[in-house]
């Protein structure tokens, strides 16, 4: 059985790599994407006996790619066709971040939205109705504070649910 792939995508500086480390803990390989100076990390994750390859992609604002980083991320998506896309966003700044979420949904990808940095969002007085957001977007939404390890278990649960649903 081939290993399923999960890609972590999102704007720069939203905590993608912290989340990646929390999910993969082991076997991490960092390499330059062929023909570029852009670094891509890959790691393994075991979940309920299934093995996944997790890819930490370079920062991207939009599927419409302008920077080299964005091109690399899109290339990874198109060539490696990951089964699940984890879109990590800064919960303080949903107004800007959800643009990419909508594009990923429009592209018919299996998206899980992670609302990261929830602690700061709460501090700034932003309150998010996660259930309603899930209903509006029609994808799983997971609030998280990746630096404190919060929300990781919930995310893992959603990943296995996604997988079971597809089988």
């Amino acid at each position: 059985m081939s290993v399923k792939k999960i890609a972590i995508v999102g704007n720069p500086n939203v905590g993608k790599s912290v989340l990646f480390n929390a999910l993969t803990k082991q076997y991490v390989v960092v390499s330059n994407y062929p023909g570029t100076t852009v670094e891509v990390s890959r790691g393994k994750m075991n979940l309920d006996g299934a093995e996944y390859e997790v890819i930490d992609t370079p920062g991207m604002y939009s599927l419409y790619s302008i920077t080299e980083e964005e091109r690399v991320t899109r290339d990874i998506l198109i060539k490696e066709r990951p089964e699940i896309i984890i879109h990590v966003v800064d919960a303080k700044n949903l107004e800007r971040m959800l643009l990419l979420t909508l594009q990923l949904i429009e592209a018919d990808l299996e998206v899980i939205l992670v609302l990261n940095i929830m602690d700061e969002a709460v501090k700034e007085g932003v309150s998010i109705d996660v259930g309603l957001l899930e209903k509006e977007l029609r994808i799983p939404v997971v609030p998280a504070i990746s630096t404190a390890g919060k929300g990781i278990d919930n995310l893992k649960k959603k990943i296995s649910e996604y997988d079971k649903k597809r089988l």
């Binding site: 899109r74 949903l94 990808l109």
Partner: protein, 483 residues
């Protein structure tokens, strides 16, 4: 809220174009056909190449759909789509997210103050004064430039070049191409490295600071309403602020404006009424002991800026600009980011500007060889007399166009020898400001806007600057103003 300006029949809508492209796509791209179609409409180069390869059969038809659709929209399709998506996001957020109203942080309060029309403008003036005038103008363009010119160029490079040219080039007329008052090495290179390099480095440092701190987009918001009246949007604040550093560079940066109409207006205003740091330096030196004259000069230039912008926006066809810009949070800029940005920009600018400088050097050499300059100086004497200036000023004006410091020194000499009274001083400063700042900007206008518009703008500026000076001279004389 921004409205889409397309109101034609449904067959020409974005949605129909997407549907037509989706029907032509056969290959499984992993991204949905709809998503691929949208990327094609946004003219994403990578996706275009991919589809060309995988769906070769339908590709030419797809290209036709994309090109056809563009003709129905004033703004780029990617812009239309971005606005639509943002509206969708806002709708979702309105339902699912609440922002606490009572907990306005200090940062938010500062942010509002900066965008407040009454309180924001004094802050803007203060930042401009210390950032542009003191830091970039006096320190960068003054102290540092002087140091590099006298301690590096005059001491080492110029004598070395003169020595080499004298030794290896036997023909006298070729000597002047490289060295002497207007030589490629002694002028073009010296200009680029001793004057433009430090000024742009300091300018970009200042620019990166206000950009990374989040202040720049707030200035854009602050003056958006005023700019709308002159056919520009708040976004144009970027080339306009850059124009105070170097108008040539600013003209290049008009590329960031979304419509051709805005770019033309911005190019015209930059050529006409935005004095670059070199011009500002001269004008400050000439008028510093005469605050009333300085005040009249600033008033006239400000008035012309708004008037010409307003009239152009009335005359030029096309819709008024809409403004769409993210307002990022205010924050302390990171020093390493600012330095890297400054470095990258200076490098980029240099690559673009260096060939223009060299061309200007060659043109001057040819012009002097063919005695065209003497001829032009004679022509200029007439209009200068008409605006009440002595004929000697002609040389200062013409050579100032090629070599800023020469023009400055020329006028300065005249004023030092008491040949210019207060009124003449103001009139010549107004004419000099409105007049095309330098040959590099003239070439850049042509490069960016094309032959027709580029030359059109320059000719207009030439006549307009003298007309304004003429009127100003008569008004001041009639009112009996003594400065």
């Amino acid at each position: 809220m921004i409205k889409r300006d397309y109101k034609g029949p449904i067959e020409n809508s974005i949605e129909m174009a997407i549907e037509k492209i989706v029907n032509l796509l056969q290959y499984d791209y992993y991204l949905s056909p709809r998503s691929i179609a949208i990327l094609l409409l946004q003219e994403d180069e990578g996706i275009r190449n991919l589809v060309k390869e995988k769906d070769a059969a339908g590709f030419s038809e797809i290209e036709q759909i994309v090109n056809n659709l563009k003709t129905y929209y004033k703004n780029p399709i990617s812009y239309e789509l971005a606005i639509e998506r943002q509206n969708e996001v806002n709708d979702i957020l309105k339902k699912a997210v609440r922002f606490a109203k009572d907990s306005i942080s200090f940062r938010e309060r500062l942010s509002r103050l900066l965008m407040n029309p009454v309180l924001g403008i004094p802050v803007f003036l203060l930042v401009s004064y210390f950032g542009l005038y003191k830091f970039v103008g006096q320190f960068g363009a003054g102290t540092v430039v002087d140091f590099i010119e006298t301690n590096i160029f005059d001491k080492y490079i110029t004598p070395f070049a003169e020595n080499m040219v004298a030794r290896f080039i036997p023909w006298q007329f070729l000597h002047e191409l490289f060295i002497g008052e207007y030589g490629l090495i002694t002028m073009a290179f010296r200009y680029a490295f001793a004057i433009i390099l430090p000024i742009t480095a300091f300018f970009f440092l200042f620019f990166s600071l206000i950009e990374d701190s989040g202040y720049l987009p707030r200035i854009a918001m602050l003056i958006d309403r005023t700019f709308k009246k002159i056919g520009l949007s708040g976004r144009a604040v970027i080339p306009m602020v850059l124009g105070f550093g170097c108008a040539t560079m600013a003209t290049m940066v008009t590329r960031i404006l979304p419509t051709k109409r805005e770019r033309i207006i911005a190019t015209l205003l930059l050529a006409l009424a935005v004095p670059c740091s070199a011009q500002l330096g001269v004008i400050m030196a000439l008028l510093q002991h005469n605050p009333m004259a300085l005040f009249i000069w600033a008033g006239v230039i400000g008035f012309i800026f708004l008037l010409v912008g307003y009239l152009t926006s009335k005359i030029l066809p096309g819709d008024r600009p809409s403004f769409y810009m993210e307002i990022p949070p205010l924050r302390m800029p990171s020093l390493s980011n600012v330095i890297v940005k400054t470095y990258v920009r200076v490098k980029w600018y240099f690559k673009e500007i260096m060939p223009i400088f060299l061309w200007a050097g060659v043109l001057i050499w040819l012009g002097r060889l063919a005695k065209i300059f003497d001829f032009l100086v004679d022509i200029l004497k007439g209009p200068l007399r008409a605006i009440g200036l002595p004929a000697e000023a002609a040389k200062a004006f013409l050579f100032g166009f090629f070599r800023r410091d020469y023009g400055a020194a020329g006028l300065y000499d005249l004023s030092a020898h008491g040949k210019l009274d207060g009124v003449q001083l103001v009139v010549s400063c107004v004419a000099l400001t409105l007049f095309l700042p330098c040959i590099a900007q003239f070439l850049m206008n042509i490069k960016e806007r094309g032959w027709k518009i580029g030359i059109g703008i320059s000719v207009f500026v030439l006549f307009f600057s003298f007309s304004v000076a003429y009127v100003l001279n008569i008004v001041l004389k009639t009112l009996g103003v003594i400065l």
